[in-house]
Amino acid sequence: MTRIAVAALTVCALIGISTYAAFYVAPTEQTMGLVQRIFYLHAPCGMTALFAFFVSFIGCIGYLLKRESKWDWLAVASAETGIAFCTVVLLTGPIWAHPAWGVWWAWDARLTSTLVLWLLYISYLVLRNMVEDPNRRAQICAFYGIFAFLDVPLVYGSIWWWRTQHPQPVVFTSGGLDPTMRKVFYLSWFALMCLMALLICQRYQLEKTREEVEVLKREVENA
């Protein structure tokens, strides 16, 4: 069995265990009831998305400093993975919001800045397809990736800086969250971080293979 298959099976097992814990180990929240269990997917996904965008930011800076393709590959791999996680956040949020708040969506600072973040990174992928020359593409996208990352601190800090419909932080504050709930949350976050690492590795390999194709195409043209 290949290393990637072992890693994928391990991640699947971790996700299975964390989902089981979210449904059967974590206690039912008194006010919201069963629907609060979406928290164990929604909140860790949000944090994992922000981390993936941070990795993309590192990739952008790395490319501008070193001018090596591997940094550009890391930037695009983690940006695309971050978009997947951000999509889950934007889809699961309204499903939780409707029974909890009575509305599917509220244009408050946290929700709006998260939607803007998703749109910024979708634009990053669109931009990549618009530039033909690989070096020019990597350079333009590195600058754009750094610009897009500016929204990440805004998303993170929005619930402290502005009055929002979104709940105040409960994970990194003392009290606020039942100890069992906290443990299940960390388990879910760990499982999703492992999934993120696996997806970034796979997507990075895709970019590496794309580079091989480009090299071979040039060889065929010159032959």
Partner: protein, 51 residues
């Protein structure tokens, strides 16, 4: 068991997004690998013709 449908929908949608994303990566990788095989074969032909 109020809102069980919402919880179920949220988890299903979440895992479906990740599944579709990983399938999309696998498909794009497979297409590129096929392209590499095709280009390698073409390169061999061109080298043979050159000799």
């Amino acid at each position: 068991m109020k809102n069980l449908g919402s919880v179920f929908a949220a988890y299903m949608i979440g895992w479906a997004v990740f599944f579709l994303f990983s399938v999309s990566i696998a498909r794009r990788t497979r297409t590129l690998r096929e392209e590499i095989e095709r280009l390698n074969a073409r390169l061999k032909d061109l080298v043979k013709q050159g000799k």
